[in-house]
Point group: C2
Chain length 429, copies 2
């Protein structure tokens, strides 16, 4: 079955100059077969989508989130970090069971599809439920079981390995499984070392929080006499494919280390702003040639999963933090949300660009709305003006997950009603 | 004709504790007549709106913009300020005629209505056209003719006074007219002094840019030996009702001055970020008791007119700039976008809150969407998660301007098509 999208502005994300003002894309099965200007060769298309006044681009890749934390959206905000965690987040999290995680992830996926995210990298628990939600809804996921050292760590590592065995490469290749050591301040150096070797032996990627807050860096420095990045390097972590979330506090030496090992950085500007973590030196990391993607973090610290907003926030934040209006121009910001994100999760040869042979993970944006008019510069319009609601249609692996704002793989309104009941019971229980 | 909105979450914005979980509002003519919990007294309502799974709140008040600059949206971005102004913005602006300004303002109003803004404070030229657009579309506007000293200043002042005479208090009271001295670096001290006296004599408010960039402050200090705020005070400006846009660079002394005279500050976080102007000390100004509202600035420097985004950006920016997650909590940010905004433009007894006797300037938000689920805290959800597209219905002065996302006072799609033609001709011409 071949799908044709025609008469559209096309952003292949293979370079700023490669935008096609009026072009087409064909999709066969899971993959893109053609991308071009003008009209395609006439053929028998199973479905033709008119792209007039619309733009087609790669779906967003959310390189760091905790999807089921939608259960905690708006539950506690505007508090000091430790009070927020200890009196609010952790006590409610302790009540979560497998069902909660399934529905929390389903809600997150609904929000992600409606805002154009086609892939997300997740770290949480009851990850089998997350995999089930990914399988059912049609999105792409990179899933890791959060791991901490100490009591219960053996069981969690077993769960992570079982998750890998059961789901890695499954759901038409839409699911990957990584190991999820939580952070240097919750994992001992020995545990990190053990996981590094395990990951190498089993050829599994690693997803970890690194250098998120000043307190973390100060504590690690006091305890180990080195930075979190240096500690992770010493534990052998970077011999693996690594998603390093946050990297707010990195030294020049750390930047060299991240570059040397090809570590992927997941930058979460809105979470870092809302929790007052700080401003990651993203322009410097990009300058050094580090792969930096964007993440929303969980909905308890953002409080949404909207990658268009995250992209805009990144572009604005780094302009003011460097006091240079030329920092993180629109194309570069959009690249972080797409092609760079693919590189961060190690799938740069499969997704993140609109290129023949790549998986058809793409979104169609409405340009016929006031805030996208006029359209002198499509990149500037998307980064600085577009809204989640401009995402009309979402395709993953060649399958249509949403068409004209209607989710096709599950009933959105039923999900919301059911979720409200779950949230009520959770607070009452 | 009485309108009833029932079964809704109601945010009167008279204090965080005054949210009504399930309530109603009645509107008669231009004004709110009742706001309460539960059900209203049975009566003959000309129109009943069901607010189930919806929230009702005051419309947003955009305290600083240049509406017609939608003509320049995405025309030039990510450039150093002087290059941006001199090689891009000013040359294209020089081509604008009255018709451009009319259509640019119409596009801005379409975007504002669709994102829940009911009032905007504008400073630009061909302001008669802006007034016409405000009259036709049903929104509320505070309009000022931009004034600079030097060649043509007499004519501009005459235009501003003629605008006042023709439009102030007109369009069912929806239009106010202010004087618009552009800024201390484009207006001589004598000219500011002259306008201060003129404003006092004619009882007209003043809308001015103040202390936006470090360069402005350095230049004014070099030339006059004082800060822009001190210069404005000395010119007698603050004896009038004043909207001071930006106030990014203010000293402790300046803060005392702004407080002493009750000057209203229009904070434009996204413009200040995008142009690398800096971070205004908003928490300190609020702490000092200064009236601080929010503005989007023009679409050439933002690049949108979405007040929900502006509110979120303010809340996030000040948390990271102060490194305190308790800075600018959700309710306070939302107050800036509504009740505080009303105070900044001097209309705090008429709009910005949902209170009997106030003008019915309100919006209805959809809560039955993934990103607003669950709803533990309505303020946090609106500030950190809501999107412009959640705004279903917009009412100004008791008139319905948009209902269920359809603009009632003009044809949105026709406007967009016409605007695209104008933008093409403008670039070609």
């Amino acid at each position: 079955m071949t799908i044709l999208i025609e008469n559209a502005v096309i952003l292949p994300m293979t370079g700023p100059e490669n935008v096609i003002e009026n072009g087409y894309i064909t999709i066969e099965g899971e993959r893109i077969t053609e991308v071009g200007a003008g009209k395609p060769t006439p053929g028998a298309y199973a479905k033709i989508i008119d792209g007039t006044n619309k733009a087609v681009m790669p779906g967003f890749i959310n390189t760091h989130t905790h999807a089921a934390m939608t259960l905690l959206r708006g539950y506690a905000d505007d508090l000091p970090l430790q009070e927020w965690l200890q009196t609010k987040i952790w006590p409610l999290e302790a009540k979560f069971n497998a069902e909660h995680i399934y529905w929390g992830t389903m809600l997150a996926i609904a929000e992600m599809i409606k805002s154009g995210t086609t892939t997300f990298a997740d770290m949480y628990f009851f990850m089998d439920e997350v995999a089930r939600a990914v399988e059912e809804t049609g999105v792409r996921g990179v899933l890791a079981r959060g791991l901490t050292s100490g009591r219960g760590s053996d069981k969690s590592v077993e769960e992570n390995l079982a998750l890998h065995k059961k789901w890695h490469g499954k759901a038409q290749g839409r699911i990957s499984v990584f190991l999820g050591p939580h952070a240097p301040y919750t994992c001992s150096a020995d545990f990190l070392h053990y996981l590094s070797e395990l990951a190498q032996k089993e050829q599994i990627g690693i997803h970890i929080h690194l250098a998120e807050t000043k307190k973390e860096c100060d504590d690690i420095m006091k305890q180990h006499g080195k930075t979190p990045i240096a500690l992770a390097e010493e534990a052998g972590l970077f011999k693996n494919k690594v998603i390093a979330a946050h990297c707010v506090y990195v030294t020049e030496e750390d930047i060299k280390t991240l570059k040397k090992y090809g570590v992927g950085v997941a930058h979460n500007p809105e979470s870092n702003m809302k929790l007052s973590s700080g401003v990651a030196p993203v322009p410097a990391m990009l300058e050094a040639g580090i792969k930096v993607g964007l993440g929303t973090d969980g909905a308890s610290s953002n409080n949404n999963l909207d990658m268009l907003q995250e992209t805009r926030s990144a572009a604005l934040l780094h302009k003011v933090s460097t006091m240079k209006p030329t920092s993180l121009p629109a194309y570069q910001a959009l690249e972080m949300a797409t092609a760079n994100g693919a590189a961060v999760i190690g799938q740069e040869k499969e997704i993140g660009r609109l290129v023949p042979g790549y998986k058809a993970d793409l979104i169609i944006l409405d340009l016929d709305v006031p805030h996208m008019t006029p359209c002198y510069d499509i990149y500037a319009n998307i980064v600085y003006s577009a809204q989640a609601s401009d995402v009309l249609t979402v395709m993953v692996n060649g399958g249509i997950l949403m068409e004209n704002r209607v989710i096709k793989t599950f009933d959105e309104k039923k999900l919301l009603a059911h979720f409200r009941k779950i949230a009520r019971d959770l607070l009452a229980g």
